[in-house]
Symmetry: C2
């Protein structure tokens, strides 16, 4: 949807290519500056911020649709994505919220218009490496911004609820989901990994016990290289051993949190 023409076509005829009554919204998490962040977009036509989302093609599987939607908006492939909940409050999208469509079209919409009917949204959460995301603007989107999950702007529809539930889900799954693997870059230091878990759990952890536990899982490799990061001893870089990580996960790994 890079031009007004494409957007108009989407609004007018999207119901033929896309499945009506259902959509997908994605809570994209990243980790930066010791904060858990979420990627939100600001539409040209709405006051509030929104999760990136979209519709499902008529013959497209759900997970594929979620990947495609995020790929179109961030350029990322093979994103770690998990369905977490579907949202279907009959008033989750009010007619008022959809007024922007009139602005774009400049003509009234039929009351049975495919975008005005009740829509159930399937929530996905994504864990991405902060620095790899290069948001792609389209005709609908004014800008993207990462927001600290503790300090969010006003959100459209029920997207605040979605963020809350996505966060709950990620926190509950912290024990057996590869959170560190997906949120951190290839190389990272032990203090960085610890900060991530401290942020997620919202509590401080003992440095020595944390390291013992992580190394005890047998999924980390210490590199020769150290990160030069200030007037003090330099921490080693670590990386996940992909193979051992996969094995541990399928064997029922628990991080112990």
């Amino acid at each position: 949807m890079n031009t007004e023409k494409e957007l108009l076509d989407y609004i007018r005829n999207g119901g033929e290519r896309f499945l009506p009554h259902v959509s997908i919204d994605c809570a994209v998490f990243g980790f930066h500056d010791n904060e858990l962040k979420i990627l939100l977009l600001k539409s040209k036509f709405l006051e509030d911020w929104a999760l990136p989302g979209g519709h499902i093609l008529r013959s497209e599987p759900l997970d594929v649709a979620a990947q495609r939607i995020l790929n179109e908006r961030t350029g990322l492939n093979d994103i770690f994505l998990k369905q977490f909940q579907s949202f279907g409050d009959p008033n989750r999208v009010s007619a008022d919220n959809m007024n922007y469509l009139k602005e774009v079209l400049k003509v009234p919409l039929a009351t049975d218009h495919w975008l005005l009917d009740r829509t159930i949204s399937i929530g996905y959460y994504a864990l991405v490496e902060f620095s790899r995301v290069n948001p792609i603007l389209d005709y609908f989107t004014a800008r993207y911004q990462w927001w600290d999950v503790h300090d969010l702007p006003s959100l459209v529809f029920d997207h605040a609820l979605m963020v809350e539930k996505a966060l709950q889900t990620v926190r509950l799954q912290l024990n057996y989901q590869p959170v560190g693997y997906n949120l951190l870059p290839e190389k990272f230091t032990m203090p960085e990994l610890q900060k991530l878990y401290e942020t997620m759990l919202e509590k401080p952890l003992d440095r020595r016990n944390f390291q013992k536990r992580m190394l005890g899982l047998g999924i980390l490799e210490r590199l020769e290289e150290r990160k030069k990061v200030g007037p003090h001893k330099s921490p080693y870089y670590y990386r996940f051993n992909r193979k051992k990580y996969q094995e541990a996960l399928s064997a029922g790994l628990s991080f112990g949190f």
Copy 2:
């Protein structure tokens, strides 16, 4: 849908009252004879067995719809129900699978018929007390039957996948969901509670340690009464202290499994 007339009306005009493209299916779990069971129905018009399910009224919240659907079929109210996953494979319901509609209507269906279009199903699982379920037959349903989850018949559409995912979810949530509370009757013995957990976890547990752990949670009350159950010592009845249970759950209770 107690008469052919109602069923025909549902097929022909249901799209006006119900939201198309979305449905709900419920995996109803019960516990009996030391087996985890699931409630399936056999339609008059299909060879395979199916999960009880239905459509969502145009302005009905999802959880309300799930309760209503189960209430219509089991007579139960206030069922413990949790959404666990949405299923949206584009081929999850093939055209062949819907042939039965022609049989009922005795006329061909329009290719854009609301029941023939792709439908995404929202999966719920329910935990119910086995003996309280009195399945209600309607014009569509030939009979209901409880099935051991380890020994299921052939299922329609993607319902086998739904059962598998529902089971996975219940097992993962065993630690912080009131499984015993919902699957067992008001009064139960410690051996019965233990059997339930052993069945869920698929492994034997030490009798003494199990009892210590359960009583240690502070949510059980021992009654004076004992269950007379054979040529040996009679076990005490226990029941959950509803208030303490709620408190413990919201305080982040973990059963330790």
